[in-house]
Symmetry: D2
Subunit: 505 residues, 4 copies
C-alpha cells in the first residue's frame, strides 16, 4: 500500500475456475493473491453438479473462511469468488459478493468489479417496474435486466443487458452450465484467462492470481468481450463493437500487485520506469532516495538508479497495522504516538532526502511524512510523486467520487508544497506517465484512462454528469470540451452521442 492512496479503494477482485476437483480451495488461493484489491469482505460460490453453494462474510479472506469444516461445504468443480472494499455506510454482509440468486429454473452467481454511471437511474426505473433489490450495490442491476430481458436464452439476455449498463465493469457469472466473464466497452478493469496443467480454466482480475495457482496466461479479456467457459472449453464473443481501450492508469500506479502483468506490461517495471522518468523531469540535490513503503519502492528504485543516489530505507511501515481496534487518543497523537509509519533517524539524520510517493490525494499523509522525516533530523525533504496531480473524480470503480477531497483540484504545486511542508515538490508529467507505462495501443493516451489527471473521460457520465459539470470552472469546461472533441473516442457511441460536457451539453 502507498501512503496517500490507502484512502482510495478499488472496488474488488474477481476469481473464477471451471473444471477443477478442488475448485473452492483453488478460488481461495486465487482470491488470496487479490486480497490487496479489497479487504472488507469476501465470498465464494461453488457449483456442484448444477447446485450452487455459497459462503460470504465481512473481513479478510482468512477471517471469512476460518473453518475447514465450513469450507468443506463448498463442494464442486467450478467456483467464483470475490474480495470487496465496502464503503463506510454499507458495511453489511448483504453487500458481500458473489450474489447467489436462486430461481425455479436454475441458480446464478454474480460478482462485479467496477462502477456503473447509469446505475441510479436504472435502479429507480427497475424498482418502478416492481423490482426488489437486496443490497445497496450496483451489481444486482445486471441480474434484474437479465431476468426482464425479452431475449429467449441466457446468453441473449446477458448481451442485451450488458448493452444497457454503462460505465466500468468486469462481471463474473456462474450458472449451472458455465463460467462467464464480461468487460465494459472500454476495458477499464483488467481480466485475464489462464489455464492450469490439468486443463481447468481460470479467470482473474490480475495475473498474479494466475501465478499463485500455477495457471498459464492464455489471453487478456478485451473491451466489450464476453468469455464463456464450460465443459467444452472456452469461447469469446463480442456483445458490442463500439469499443475503445481505456484501461485505468491507477492500476499501474497503485492498485495492481507489482508482479502482475497488464496487457503484457509488468507493473513493477512500469513503476520503475515512472521513477526513472521522474528523476529526469525532477532532479534534486539530495543525499539519498527513500520510497514510501510499500507501493512506492519500485518507483524509488528507478529514481535512485537514474539519479545515481543511494536508495535507503528511511521510512518503515509496521506490517501488523491492520484492523486495530484500540486507537491512540488525540493527546497521545500529540505526544508523538505513531502506528503505521516510522522514520529511521539513524538513516535520515542530517541528510537531504528525496522521498518518492505514488500520489497525493488529500495531502494529509504527505504532510505527516514530511514532518516525520524532519522530526527524525532530515536536513531537507524533497517530495517527488510518480504520477501527475489527481484533480478529477473517477466514475468507473475507484473511490474518488468528488473533487472536494483532492488537494490538487484546489491548490497549485507551490501551494501544495507549502501545505505539506516540503522543500520542493515535483510530479511526473502526464506524458511521462503514459510513456513510462508504454501501452502504445491505438487509442487516446495509448489505451489508458487518465481522466483523474486531465478530466478527459472516455464515456458519457450519465447520472454523475450534472454534478460534475457544476463543479467545473468555465476554463476547465472549455478545455474538457476540447478534449472530448479531439479524442472523440468513438463517434457513434450511444453513450456519448453528445459530448459528455461542452456548449451543447
Amino acid at each position: 500500500m502507498s501512503a496517500e492512496l490507502e484512502d482510495i479503494h478499488e472496488e474488488c477482485g474477481l476469481f473464477g475456475v471451471w473444471g477443477h476437483p478442488d475448485a473452492a480451495r483453488l478460488t481461495y488461493f486465487g482470491l488470496h493473491a487479490l486480497q490487496h484489491r479489497g479487504q472488507e469482505g469476501a465470498g465464494i460460490v461453488t457449483n456442484d453438479h448444477g447446485r450452487l453453494i455459497g459462503h460470504r462474510g465481512l473481513g479478510l479472506l482468512t477471517q471469512v473462511f476460518s473453518d475447514e469444516q465450513e469450507f468443506s461445504r463448498l463442494s464442486g468443480e467450478h467456483a467464483v469468488g470475490h474480495v470487496r472494499y465496502a464503503t463506510a455506510g454499507s458495511k453489511s454482509v448483504d453487500n458481500i459478493q458473489p450474489f447467489l440468486f436462486r430461481f425455479h429454473d436454475g441458480d446464478v452467481a454474480l460478482c462485479h468489479n467496477g462502477n456503473l454511471t447509469n446505475c441510479v437511474s436504472l435502479r429507480t426505473e427497475l424498482e418502478d417496474e416492481g423490482a426488489i433489490f437486496r443490497s445497496d450495490s450496483d451489481t444486482e442491476v445486471l441480474m434484474h435486466l437479465i431476468r426482464r430481458s425479452s431475449q429467449s436464452d441466457f446468453m441473449g439476455q446477458l448481451k442485451e443487458s450488458l448493452n444497457i449498463v454503462h460505465g466500468g465493469f468486469a462481471y463474473l457469472l456462474m450458472t449451472e452450465h458455465a463460467l462467464i466473464g464480461a468487460l465494459d466497452p472500454n476495458g477499464f478493469r483488467p481480466l485475464s484467462l489462464g489455464r492450469m496443467t490439468n486443463g481447468a480454466y481460470v479467470l482473474a482480475s490480475e495475473t498474479c492470481a494466475l501465478d499463485t495457482v500455477g495457471a498459464q496466461l492464455v489471453r487478456n479479456i478485451g473491451p466489450g468481450e464476453i468469455i464463456i467457459v464450460d465443459d467444452s472449453g472456452y469461447r469469446i464473443e463480442q456483445y458490442t463493437d463500439k469499443t475503445q481501450l481505456a484501461i485505468c492508469s491507477m492500476e499501474f500506479i497503485y492498485f495492481a500487485r507489482p508482479d502482475s502483468n497488464i496487457y503484457g506490461i509488468n507493473v513493477h517495471s512500469a513503476r520503475k520506469r515512472m521513477g526513472k522518468r521522474l528523476a529526469q523531469e525532477h532532479p534534486v540535490d539530495a543525499d539519498m532516495v527513500i520510497g514510501v513503503p510499500n507501493s512506492s519502492l519500485s518507483a524509488a528504485s528507478g529514481y535512485a538508479e537514474e539519479s545515481g543516489l543511494p536508495n535507503e530505507m528511511g521510512l518503515i511501515k509496521n506490517q501488523y497495522v491492520a484492523r486495530t481496534f484500540i486507537q491512540p487518543t488525540q493527546e497521545l497523537r500529540e505526544q508523538g504516538v505513531r502506528m503505521k509509519l516510522s522514520a529511521v533517524r539513524g538513516v535520515v539524520e542530517g541528510k537531504k532526502v528525496a522521498i518518492i510517493d505514488d500520489s497525493i490525494v488529500r495531502g494529509t499523509t504527505s504532510k505527516r511524512i514530511v514532518r516525520l522525516l524532519r522530526e527524525a533530523g532530515a536536513a531537507e525533504v524533497h517530495m517527488l510523486i510518480s504520477s501527475p496531480p489527481l484533480k478529477y473524480p473517477c466514475f468507473y470503480g475507484i473511490d474518488i467520487s468528488t473533487t472536494k477531497e483532492l488537494i490538487a483540484a484546489k491548490k497549485s504545486v507551490d501551494e501544495m508544497r507549502d501545505y505539506i511542508g516540503a522543500d520542493s515538490l515535483g510530479f511526473l508529467s502526464l506524458d511521462g506517465l503514459v510513456d513510462s507505462i508504454g501501452m502504445h495501443e491505438d487509442a487516446p493516451y495509448g489505451g489508458l484512462c487518465v481522466a483523474y489527471f486531465n478530466g478527459d473521460y472516455p464515456t458519457a457520465l450519465d447520472d454523475y454528469e450534472r454534478d460534475f459539470l457544476r463543479s467545473l470552472t468555465p476554463d476547465d469546461r472549455t478545455r474538457l470540451t476540447e478534449y472530448a472533441r479531439e479524442t472523440s473516442r468513438y463517434a457513434d457511441n450511444e453513450y456519448r452521442v453528445q459530448p459528455a460536457y461542452g456548449p451543447t451539453a
Copy 2:
C-alpha cells in the same frame, strides 16, 4: 520477515511505562511496534495505585485487545506488556505473559525475553522443595527464587535471584512501587530506556518502540544491570560485576526492526553494510540483484550499490499471508499453488539473478525460492547470504535448539548449493559480519554473540551441555575448547569455572 528465518523465532518483546496517565494505551502502541518479536500471544498489566490489573490472550495484539470496553479496565499510570512467540506444544493462555502474581503482601507482574540454561534443574529443585508452577515457561522460576530468598527486601531478593539464573534474559517486573528491568551478565537481548516529553519513563526491547510512542532514548541497559523506575525517577544498579557484552548478532541480521538502533547502530544500515561486504566477498556475474522480502531488502540494496547492478523487485511477498486456516492440499501444491512468495516473471525472465537472503536454516525455503525463480524463467540463480552458515543451536532465546535442523551443520557449501539448486552460493564471512555490524566493543567479536556460527558460547551451557557435547565431532570439540580458552570470557565466571566443553569438561 525473512524467508528462511520465519521458522526461527525470538521469544518475545517487552515494553513498560511508569508515570503516564494513559499507560495501558501507550503500552499497547509500544507492543505494536514490537509485534514482529512475537505473534502468538500478548498481554498487559497495569498498576492503578498499587492494584495490578491484567489482560492477556492468544493471538496478535489486535486480537487480544479487540474491545475498547475491556481495554478500559486497564486503568492506572504504570504498565508492563509483552508479546510472545509460543512453541508448538504449549499454545495455552497459561503461558502468555506478563504473569501476574498476587500475594497477601502485594502484587507483582513479570515478563521475560530470553532463555535460561539452568531452568530445568532449577525448576526440579524448586518443585522438590514444594514450589508449584503455573506454566511451562522459564519465566516463573525467577519469581519462585525471589519469594524463597532469604534477603529481607524485594531488591535484595531480586538481586540474589538474578545471580542464580543463568543464560539469556531481559526481565521486566512491576511491583506496587516500581517498574524494574534486568539484563543477564552478557546482555544478549537489547533493552532501552526512553523518556517522554511528559516525563514518563519507558523501557522497551527495541528503540523502534520508543520512537513509536514519541520517547527519546536515554540509555541502553547494559549487561548485569538492573534499572529501577519509580516516582522519584530512575536509577541503575549492578547485581554482578562479572559481565561481558555478547549481544545476539541475529538481532542485527534478522530479528530487530530496521529502524531500531542497537547500541547506537542502526539495524538497516548494518544490514546494508553486510550486503556491501557480501558484494566484495562474493561478486557474481548477474543482470540484477533481488532481495528476499522483507528482511533482506536492506542487504540487497547494499549489494546492488556496491556491485553496480540494478536492484529489482523479482520476488513479491503476499502481505496478507498471516493466519490462514485454509491450506493448500499436497495436490494443489504440486500444481503450483503458492501463497507466500511469488517470482515476477516480467522481471526475471531470461535474466541472471543474484538473490540476497539473510540466512539459510533448513534450506527448504531457499530451495523453493530457487525453483520459483527458475520456473519464472531466470537464466541463472546465484544465492548470496548476508550472514555466515548457521551451524550451532542457540540457548539464549532463539528457537534453534538442535543442530539437527540446520543444513549447514551437515553439509558443505557446495553440497548446500546442490541441494537448493542454485548456480552458485556464497555466505558472508564471520569477520565480514562482525566488521559490518561494527560494534567495536572491548569484548570477543566486538561484543557480539556469534555462537550459532562458530560454537563459541559466552556462557557455560548447564542443562544443555551434555546433549550438546554429544552432538559434536571430535575436531569440533577440540576447536571449541580452543575458542573457550582464547576468548576466556571472564576467567572467574562462576558459570564457566570449567570451560563449557573441552578435555576436562
Copy 3:
C-alpha cells in the same frame, strides 16, 4: 416444551411497537417473551424518523443481540421484530426476518408467522415475470405482489396482495409512516394489540408479550383484518369479508405460553380443563399423576385434581439442554447416557404411574419416556394424551408437512400402545378438546382449526392438494368430502369454490 412436540415447530413470533422512545429495547423484551415460538434466528428493524435500521442473526435473541454498542444503532421510536424457527436446510441468515426492503420511494420492513398454500405457484409466476427473491422464505412473496400491484397507494396495494396469498399468515409491516398488521381470513395465528401507559401501541403474537412490556390488551386482531398504527392512533380495516375463524388448536395444546390468553381464554386454564376431561374420559388405576415437563404440567395438574391422585414430579427436564454441540455416541446412548429427561427413581419406584403428555408425533419420545420410567422401577405406566391423535399435516405454519412422520396416521391406538410399551394409552376426544378450550364461536369446532386431528381443512390446499389427496385412503377421502360439505365453511369462498377434495375435485 413438551416431549414429543419439541420436534414440531411453529414458524415464528412477531412483535411491533409504534411511538416509544426506546422502541428497539422494548421490542427486544417483547420478543424475549416470544422466544418459545422460534429459537433459530431473530431480528429487529427500527424506524428513526423514516429511516429504517435493521439487525438480525442466527441463534437465540440473546446471541443475536449480545452487544449494547451494536444495539444502540437501532435508534428510533418505532420497531418491528421477529423470532424464527428455520427448517434444517435453510439455516442461512438470508432467511432471518424482519426483511428490510429499501426502495427509492421509501423503506419497508416485513415479517411473517404462518405458511402460504399457494406460495410455490405464486413464486414461480413472479419469477417468470422477472422477480428476484432473496431468500427461501414465503414471506417475500407479499412484497413482490405489493410492488407489482396496479393500485395507486400502499394500503390499496397491500389489500390487493393479501387477497392473492392463501393459507395461514400473520404479517407485520413497517413503513416510514405506519406499523401494519394483517391476518388471514381464518385467523389461524393469534395477533393482539396492546397499549402502554405512555400511549405507545404494541402488536404481538401472544398476550404474554404484552404483559412482559407492561401493555394492556386493547383487542385481538380478527380474521381478514388489517390494523394500521400511526401517529394518529390505530384503525382497523377489513380486506375481505369472506372470513371464518379457525384458530390453530395447537396454540392451546402446545405452542402458546401458559400465561397467554387467546381470544380471552387463558392457555394454562384450557390445558388444565383438557387434563380434567381426560381424567373423565380415561380414568386409570394409578398411584400418581406425572406430567411431562414443561408443557404438560398444566394438564397433569387438571388430571390429578379431577382424579384425586397425587401429582408428582417423576420426570425432570434438564434446564440447560439447549444447543449442546457435544453429542453422546451411540455406544454411550446404549449405556444409558441421557441428556434431556430423567425419571426420578425415588418417586416412581414400585408405583403405578399415569403419565400425561400433550401429544404423540412420531412416538419415539413417548417410547423413551415409558422406558425411562420402567428402568426407574415404575410398576405400571399409563400414558394419557391431552389431545386427539395427530393424523394429518398442517399447511398453515406448523412444521408437520407430511403424514409419513405421524405414528397415529399409520397405527391404531392399541398398536401405538404396544409400540411405546405402555400398559395403557388414552387420547382426549376431539369433542373433549373443543369443549375444554371452550371457544364457542359461531364457526365449526367453535372457531378452532382441528385439521391435524380430523383432516377437515378450513381452506383449499392449493399447491399441496395433489400430494395430500394421493396420501389418503378411499374411506378417508369420502369422510373428508363429507366434512367439507357439512362444515361448508363459507360457501362462496374463492379458495374453496370446489371442496378441497372429494369426487369432483
Copy 4:
C-alpha cells in the same frame, strides 16, 4: 431455580470417571446434569496413560465445549470435571477448575466444592514460606500442603493435608494412577460413587449425574472419608475419626436437583413433605396454591395436596432468561417491563392466592412477586416459605457470607410481611424442616447443618470467627454458646476445642 435463591450460589459440581473409553464425553454429560450447581465456568481434565490433558473456560458447559475437534483432544480413559460459580470479582479463567498441576514427578488435577474456614490464614502462611498461588480460589491450598508435606507417599501427603484444612469441602483429584475423592469431617457436601455396566466407576456431587450417565449408585461418600479408584477397583479410607454428619440442609431446600437422592432421601419428596408440613403449620384461607417456578413447585404441590386447594400455574418463568446482555432501562422497568417472571392474570385475577417459595434472602424478589400478583388482580396474597428464616451466613460453600444481606437477620416476620407487602407471611419451623427431610441420623438435627437458620455451626469458624462474633447481639451470643454446648458436636474436635463463640472464646 428459586426466585430469591437465585442470588445465592453453591460453589460447584464435581464429576469424575475411571476406566471408560470415552471418559471426556461421559464427564461432559455428567457435568451437564450438574450444571445447576455452577454456570460461570467449566472444565475437564483427562488422563491418557498418565498424561493429563485439560480444557476449561468461562460460561456454560455448552459454551466452554463448543467444538468437537477441540473436544477430541481430551483423550484417555479417566477424567475429572467441574462446573463452577465464580464470585463477581473473580471472573477470570484462572479460577476455573479442575486445576491442572504439572510436576517433574507427575501431573495432578484437582477440583473442589466447598469453602475452607482457615483458607486465608493457611494461604498467608504458605506465601510467607515461598508458595505462589495461581488463582484467587481456596482450592489450591490443598495442593501446596500436599507438595510440602513431610510424608513420603502421595496418600500420606494427602491425608496429612486434609487434616490441616478446615471447613466444608468435597475434593476430587486425579493423578497418573488414581481418581480420588475426599470429604470434610462433617460431610457438608454430597458425593456419591456409582458404577457403570462396563465396570467404570463414577464419582459425582449428585446422584442425578449418576442417573444421567446410566451408572448405579454404589454408596455415598461419608464424612472424613477418602475414596481411591484405580485399575484395581475402589477402596475407602478414613483420614480422621473425628467426624459427625452435618449435611447442608440447603441442598434439600434449594440446590440439589429434585431427582437426586441425598443419603437415600429423594429431594423432590423431601420438598413435597416440607410443603405438606407448611400447610399444617400455616393454613391459609385461599382459592389456590401457586409455586414459584421452578424450585418451589414440589413444595407447592405438597401444600396443595395437604390443604385440598387447587395447585395453579399463576407465575410463569421465561425459560430463555439466561445471559441477557441487553437490560431494561430504569424507565422501562417502571413502565412494567419484566423479563423473568410473569403473573398469569387469567389465573389469579380476583382470587386469594397462597404463594409458596423456598426461602427469603433479601426480600426484594418476594416483594416483586407480591406486586406482580397484585397487579395481575390477585385479591389476597399469602406468602408461605418452605424453610425457616435465613438469619446467619454460611461458611462452608454457600455464597451468603454476611448477615447484612439477610432480611430475616434484621426484621421480625411481621416487619418482613409489611416490607414485601403480603397479606400474610409464614415460614416452616426448624423442627418442621428437620422432620420433613427425615434424615434421622444420630447427630444434631438428624445429621443436617441448619446453621443459616439458628447459628449453630458444626465447626469452629477460624478466620471468620472474629467478624461473626462482632455481628451478634449479646442475646444471640448467649444462645449460640448454649447451642455449642448442647450439641457439643465432637468434644475432642481440634477445630472446636474451644466453642466457636461464647464467654470463653
